[in-house]
């Protein structure tokens, strides 16, 4: 029972450019469904999907929920707090219990890198990674790619700079893999204390100054800067971060051409991004959210592949 993407979606690093293209192409008709009055198709009717969110997240969980419901699947939300000591055990037990209830798919978000893989290795159901630690957030990467493709009509050769705390960002990592596989040129910009030391070996250009990054880029993806980074000593203050690295209208105007602005949300207005940029003419932040539902529908659709052995029994299924 392996569809074109395999059993699970754990990250973008294991995928090929063709597989990513398939997901993006499949997302196109799903965009249209969200524009209809009745936003529902019967495609996954009867499928049981569990949203297993160990980390608080409103936007990703709700986006997945809409995707599942618009495909007529039955979605159940399970929120759990991961205990750092018994984390592994809790995860396995929860998963096996759910499997015993005959679920088809699990969408998991967890604070530990590798948690999605851990789960996928232990249960038969399809596992979709909605963000594991600082490792990957594949559906976010995909919706970013779709949003870029919508605007530029292609990804090959596109210059995209990821700005901010790359060190702690699963969104950054998924974007780096996804963009690279689609032939885009990738750069990062931020203080070196927030960039992985080995960043130069990830096939990525590094800009130490936001002005240089803006001069180069066709599009920038601005990562959220978390308050914890300051208290953990990676940067002195959010204020200085904004002064030195913040994407402001002045900095964009100095470049003198259009640069597309993306942000995975939620935004810290006035820290990594100023309001007049977030709400400005080049921001596609809301398009990202819309595309998020379509991309997730596409992923659910592609991963819920049928079983060919039953196709034999069905004899001529799909014929006119």
């Amino acid at each position: 029972m392996t569809g074109p993407l395999g059993k699970d979606l754990l990250g973008l690093e294991p995928l090929t450019g063709d597989q990513i293209s398939l997901i993006l192409d499949t997302a196109e008709p799903f965009k249209e469904i969200s524009e209809r009055a009745i936003k529902k198709v019967p495609t996954l009717r009867g499928a049981t999907i569990v949203n297993l969110f160990f980390e608080a997240s409103t936007r990703t969980r709700v986006s997945f929920e809409f995707a599942e419901k618009r495909l007529s699947a039955d979605a159940v939300n399970v929120g759990a707090s991961g205990s750092s000591v018994t984390k592994g055990e809790t995860l396995v037990d929860t998963a096996r219990n759910l499997e015993a209830m005959r679920i088809d798919m699990v969408v998991i978000r967890h604070g530990a890198s590798g948690a999605a893989q851990f789960l996928a290795d232990r249960i038969e159901s399809t596992v979709i990674n909605a963000g594991d630690g600082t490792h990957e957030h594949p559906t976010q990467g995909l919706l970013d790619l779709l949003t870029l493709r919508d605007h530029f009509k292609k990804l090959d050769g596109l210059k995209v700079c990821i700005c901010g705390d790359v060190l702690h960002s699963r969104v950054a990592r998924s974007n780096i893999w996804g963009l690279s596989k689609m032939g885009a040129q990738v750069a990062v910009c931020g203080p070196r204390s927030l960039l992985p030391n080995a960043i130069d070996e990830m096939g990525v250009t590094v800009f130490d100054h936001i002005e240089d990054a803006l001069e180069w880029a066709d599009a920038i993806n601005i990562l959220r800067l978390q308050l914890e980074r300051m208290t953990a000593g990676y940067i002195p203050s959010l204020r200085e971060y904004n002064r030195v690295f913040g994407v402001s209208r002045e900095r964009l105007e100095r470049v003198g051409r259009d640069i597309l602005i993306l942000h995975p949300g939620p935004m810290n207005r006035g820290v990594e991004i100023d309001s007049d940029v977030a709400d400005g003419p080049f921001s596609v932040i809301l398009n990202q959210v819309t595309n998020g539902v379509a991309v997730r529908m596409a992923v659910l659709y592609l991963l819920s592949g049928g079983r060919p052995e039953l196709a034999e029994a069905a004899k001529g299924g799909g014929a006119r």
Binding site: P191, R192, S193, L195, N197, D208, H209, G233, Y234, I235, P236, S237, R239, E240, R243, V244
Partner: protein, 431 residues
């Protein structure tokens, strides 16, 4: 109105341009307009002339490590008195360490130092900002804001950056602003309570010693972190043979490490502590003759990049205490040139060209400061000195408020005659 100044007859030594010959230097409106052997004819009659016959004319000295005590301890030094002491020592610029009270860890404090330096109208004063807020080693200071206000480097000197994670982060974060992180290499738990070098002498004198490893452990830590992060680490006041070996190891591998030595560490040994003289107490302490020899050789072969003073004035009363309780530090701005000449140039370990490189050209280069050159068009920051003249050190005559010098009463070779900043004479030797 063009103000012209003509320095003639001196031996111009400018390592930045490979000049080492008798020549004249013509200055107009604070800028060097010409350097050469036969300039005399082109000089106007109303130009001020300074006869430099028998003297060396060099790019102004730059001290990348000194303590000016203001704000907080204006009783032992102010930025004005410190800048004037610097000028008396031939320095046209100094970098002031941030262990003031309050600590110079924000843009307002950096701006204050800049303004006070401008008002002093003597040597230029470049602030060094703190690495951590309050130099407490807990939270990074805002490097960007401080650099924006005029800071040229960051350091927690006085103290080490004890946390390796903080040192690493500081080196990474400093890359954005292109500044060095200068570390006072002292492993705090090894050095705690120490008053002098650990060895036979400390054992005999009953004083707790600071082992050389306290410095070397931090030196190699910093060198390795510089390798990992690609940042620039500057090692302050190196004092042991072991440190020299580690710096050489680092440089051979292309790691961005630069190092300084102080005049006292290439001239005095722990023997100077004999009699419990607190004017020989500083941190890092005076070490053994073997360490001194290693440091002298390191200056010669380039493992040590610059000579800096670590000028640390203290109040007479504070130093008049039991050895273990006395504060660390000696003044050095007004004796640096002479100590260097007496112990490095006279014995032939280095020549005057190398000396000027270590005191002017290299400091400007590694801290990205203007100066360190007599190139046409650059600001006329010039030091004119007699490399041979002897004089006796009388701390009472110092321009600095500090009198704590171990060289008191010694006769040294080498004397500053003129110090010029932007073409203005800010120090002229008397007598």
């Amino acid at each position: 109105m063009s103000r012209a100044l003509f320095l003639h007859g001196g031996r111009v030594v400018d390592p930045s341009q490979g000049i080492n010959e008798v020549a004249g230097v013509l200055v107009e409106d604070g800028r060097i307009v010409a350097v050469g052997p036969r300039l005399g004819d082109g000089v106007g009659a109303d130009a001020e002339r300074i006869d430099c016959t028998g003297l060396v004319v060099a790019p102004g000295f730059i001290d990348v490590h000194c303590h000016l005590r203001e704000p907080g301890r204006e009783d032992v030094e102010t930025i004005a008195t410190g800048a004037r002491a610097a000028a008396a020592g031939g320095f046209t610029a100094v970098c002031a360490m941030p262990n003031t009270d309050p600590v110079t860890d924000n843009q307002a404090a950096v701006g204050f130092i800049v303004r006070q330096g401008q008002r002093a109208r003597a040597a230029r004063v470049y602030p060094i900002g703190a690495v951590s807020l309050g130099q407490k080693g807990l939270a990074l200071a805002e490097f960007g804001e401080m650099v924006g206000a005029g800071a040229v480097a960051v350091s927690d000197d006085g103290k080490p950056v004890a946390s390796a994670h903080m040192m690493r982060t500081a080196l990474e974060y400093a890359r954005t602003f292109g500044i060095p992180v200068a570390d006072h290499c002292e492993e705090p738990t090894l050095a705690a309570g120490g008053a002098m070098n650990e060895g036979l002498m400390s054992a005999k004198m009953g004083l707790k010693g600071i082992p050389s490893e306290a410095e070397e452990i931090m030196a190699i830590r910093d060198i390795l972190l510089a390798r990992r992060t690609g940042g620039h680490v500057h090692l302050c006041h190196m004092s042991t043979r072991g440190s020299v070996d580690l710096i050489r190891w680092g440089k051979e591998r292309g790691i961005n490490v630069t190092a300084e030595v102080c005049p006292h560490h290439i001239s005095l040994t722990e023997a100077a502590v004999e009699g419990y003289d607190t004017n020989a107490k500083m941190n890092p302490p005076l070490r053994t003759a073997d360490d001194v020899e290693a440091l002298q050789q390191a200056v010669r072969d380039g493992v040590i990049d610059v000579i800096a003073t670590d000028h640390a004035p203290h109040h007479y009363d504070e130093k008049e205490r039991e050895f273990a309780d006395a504060p660390n530090g000696i003044v050095g701005l007004e004796t640096a040139l002479s100590v260097n000449i007496t112990w490095l140039v006279k014995p032939g370990i280095i020549d005057v060209v190398t000396l000027i490189d270590k005191m002017s050209v290299a400091p400007a280069r590694i801290f990205h400061l203007p100066g360190g050159t007599l190139r046409t068009g650059s600001a006329a920051d010039i030091t004119v000195f007699d490399p041979a003249a002897e004089w006796t050190v009388h701390p009472a005559h110092f321009k600095s408020k500090g009198r704590n010098s171990p060289y008191a009463g010694m006769t040294l070779a080498g004397r500053v005659h003129y110090t010029l900043v932007e073409g203005q004479v800010i120090h002229r030797a008397t007598g």
